[in-house]
Symmetry: C2
Subunit: 170 residues, 2 copies
């Protein structure tokens, strides 16, 4: 009789670090390749990335790259919330479709948490979509300890609601 065993979550072997200027095109390629960013949202990625390259402290946007085998396979974007000392937004964590299920997003999330903790952050908020293409992202956030505060039906557009998540950093 076969024993029941826990399958451990994969642990990524790459490196997470602040995005480099040379990462720009790969980050935008990853965002496009996920298939969940629409045209306007892709423009927002460009806008925030340009803010980050001008200066993360001034713009309030921070990008992390996950790098392995000489290229970028995932990125995360986070930043402080206005008027708050301890509140942060996690804007996106995105993994290239060719690098799914290898722990890339989890490695990025761990570094986002570490960066925010290092600045004295206590709360991280995520706003995401209620639609089926985002189901994997929502399940991932919940596995990472995020709690769903609310689902606002039809918020983005008819049929596409807002899901608000929050996590308290210990």
């Amino acid at each position: 009789m076969a024993a029941l065993v826990d399958v451990p979550a994969p642990v990524a072997v790459g490196v997470v670090q602040p995005a480099l200027p040379a990462d720009r095109d790969q980050i935008l390629e990853i965002a496009a390749a996920t298939g969940v960013f629409n045209t306007i949202e892709l423009d927002v990625v460009v806008e925030l990335l340009e803010g980050y390259y001008r200066g993360p402290e001034e713009s309030g946007y921070h990008f992390l790259s996950y790098r392995e085998d000489g290229r970028v396979w995932g990125f995360a974007t986070w930043g402080p919330r206005p008027l708050s000392e301890h509140g942060y937004d996690l804007y996106w964590i995105a993994t290239h479709p060719s690098a799914q299920r290898r722990g890339v997003a989890r490695a990025l999330m761990a570094e986002v948490d570490a960066c925010i903790r290092a600045r004295g952050g206590g709360w991280v908020l995520i706003e995401t979509s209620s639609t089926p293409p985002y189901a994997a992202a929502r399940a991932f956030y919940e596995r990472c300890g995020y709690q769903c505060l609310a689902v606002l039906d039809g918020y983005y557009r008819d049929g596409d609601g807002l899901v608000i998540y929050v996590k308290r950093l210990g």
Copy 2:
């Protein structure tokens, strides 16, 4: 034996309309007079008001003034949330301390709702403070149909938490 009677809420007799350029100083005076905006938050009122005067659609910030007897006694600030077709933020509703309990805030709230409804808005979010000076504001939002989604302790700073409210517009 005295009958129990409902005391009706006061109904303001002034006019709520988009803020005029000439309202600038009175709006800033009201914000300062409330005593709940700190220096940084007063700077944000100035910044959003300047955005509104440059162009509300471009800046995303809308100001309403409550006018009575030739002067402004209250203001409200609202705007669309980014990337959303039906989501809006209500930033502030403020009444001059000399005009409290006359229905000014309620008149402003009714016009905010009407403006957002007219644009097809379905959800309004408010972020406010958990501290005692904001207790009257929180009670007012709840009387106006806002539902508390969460209280994040220590979000603004130690001892000053974030309270998130939402209302669905019918």
